[in-house]
Symmetry: C2
Subunit: 331 residues, 2 copies
DNA sequence: ACAGTGTCTGAAACGGTTTGCAGAGTTGGT
DNA sequence: ACCAACTCTGCAAACCGTTTCAGACACTGT
């Protein structure tokens, strides 16, 4: 059916070993033979069977990626980064959508384990103990979480919060709401630590609300609570929530940014497409995906497990303004 | 390292064949033995090695999915459907992001071929000849394209256009613009055929504009052209474009839906989150992904290759209104 | 004549599973 | 008591396409 190394060998009138070497150790075969083999392989459309190669080399050339939800733009961006980097390294990616279910996460790790060289776990929802149980099944890299002494790629969202709070403080806001996401997420904790450090330093009082689901609906729900607390600015857990906030504010007749400033998180594509482009903290999602794969690929010797921190960046657009704007004369 | 069938066999004090059978042909092993085996397997955390199983059965339990761009919400929704259905069938999905490049598509099909039971090609960009060359490498199912006699799952966007045109016609619009997407896409052609059939039937004149990139920017670009042609409604290739149109119309001071109606396509999540929720034709993206996997799984005998058509549905929201609205008295 | 080098070949892994065949044990009919 | 049929289990081969080890062969230089 499919063309194997044997077909190529027969057609090129050499042994299978020679064909194999023509691909993997070119300098061990005569240039002329090599040329011939490569040409025949090309003609026949030969592509090495990675599974069979993995059988003897122990490396499959596949890397696994587990995300809580592919349809979430945050994760699809991460995934894109993983896929791109994997391709560059001539690897293929195994995807699993865990549907936000910790048990499914553990399960798919098991299912993929033997067919991949390593697995990237994106924002895993399971607790430390469950995570520990996964260690050893396959080389693991965490993304957006630090735990179990595993290598991880992290985004410095604490610094992102600092930038956002500083920005709002400079605009004269003295009382802002922070809408937190899922209760027990590492990213959420880290974010909150950043907030608690930054707020006093910027002479800003932070009203901590939540947890809310990190969705459009979550933002809607949170908005009324924020309004009731008399804040002049809102810091949302992510852009999806921020957009929900924007919508609810419009519905309640609160003008943005005049009466209320709104800051999101992530900088998903959508955030520059809203009628009021959103001020947000850009998370390097694609870069994080790439880095995670890098870590997996490098991870030859299990030395001291390293963490890679990626910087975040406040992107100021149209949803933040001075607390008491001076009226614009012309317009 | 990893726990194999042999470990389980030793621990349960049976042979490997018995363990194997306990999983795959339960009725051939004594209930008591079976229970013991299953229990030990559970304790040891045994998970069958799918690659090894595939070695002898010829089925890997993996299915491949190739998309032009994971970060595109249309495809991430399709992907989610594929992943969900695959999981139900206890399969794992291999993902390849072709980065909109036809050559990459062909390449990854080759790379995945031996490790999967079949491949779902989503909106493949390559031409028929290239596609033909892929047939036979692995079982293929096309999504959002019909070609090369391959089984395919298709969405009836022609009927979607009909619904949209009918809707606009009923609202009194007589001259509408259609903004087409990528020039040579199957979906685009199909869409256009629907338009040309529906417009006369609804007494509507359709101004065909494009092709434009199927993005936010594409929508912005298209808007000015549409305005110059004096239409009162716009039918965009997809929601991303429609949102671009909405933005540009706002920037040009054209009020929606009073002065201009806008209809999108796909019904991505974002379209209900815009400040003006978008009227759009819902494409069953997730269902399409599921169906594609179904087709692959069923495709035991290569009988007459079938196509599965999925219905589309107009979702009327806030961006369409009568051409000459009667002023609302109260409010 | 022999060691050394460059190039190639044959055949043995690689690995965890499934499965054909045979054998052990049990039941039931004569 | 004996044979047949049946149920359950174990042994070992086969599965796949590749890599790689050990060696063969033909040269060259000494």
């Amino acid at each position: 059916m499919a063309v194997t190394i044997h077909h190529v060998a027969r057609a090129a009138e050499v042994s299978v070993s020679t064909v194999s070497r023509a691909f993997t150790v070119p300098e061990m075969v005569h240039p002329q033979t090599r040329r011939k083999v490569l040409q025949v392989a090309e003609e026949l459309g030969y592509q090495p069977n990675r599974a069979a190669r993995g059988l003897v080399t122990g490396r499959t050339g596949n890397i696994g990626v587990v995300v809580p939800d592919v349809a979430n733009p945050f994760f699809s961006a991460v995934l894109k980064g993983c896929a791109a980097r994997a391709r560059e390294a001539r690897h293929v990616v195994f995807l699993a959508d865990a549907a936000e279910d910790p048990r499914v996460e553990a399960e798919v790790v098991g299912a993929m384990a033997k067919q991949v060289d390593g697995i990237v776990l994106c924002s895993p929802r399971e607790d430390s103990a469950q995570l520990d149980r996964l260690v050893g099944i396959a080389p693991l890299v965490l993304l957006n979480r630090a735990d179990s002494g595993l290598p991880a790629v992290l985004m410095d969202s604490a610094d992102g919060v600092r930038q956002a709070v500083e920005h709002l403080g400079a605009l004269g806001h003295r009382r802002i709401a922070h809408l937190s996401g899922p209760a027990s997420s590492w990213a959420g904790e880290h974010r909150l630590r950043g907030l608690r450090a930054a707020a006093p330093a910027c002479d800003v009082e932070a009203v901590e609300l939540g947890p809310f689901p990190p969705t459009f609906q979550g933002g809607i729900q949170a908005t009324d609570l924020a309004l009731a607390r008399g804040v002049t600015a809102v810091l949302a857990f992510n852009d999806l929530m921020a957009i929900g906030v924007l919508n609810r504010l419009a519905a309640r007749g609160v003008s943005v940014p005049e009466e209320m400033s709104v800051v999101g998180f992530d900088d998903i594509e959508m955030s520059s497409m809203t009628t009021q482009p959103l001020t947000t903290v850009r998370m390097p999602m694609e870069a994080a995906g790439r880095t995670a794969v890098d870590l997996l690929l490098d991870e030859q010797q299990p030395g001291p497990q390293l963490q890679r921190w990626l910087p975040t960046q406040l992107i100021v657009r149209s949803t933040t303004a001075p607390r008491m704007p001076v009226p614009v004369a012309t317009r």
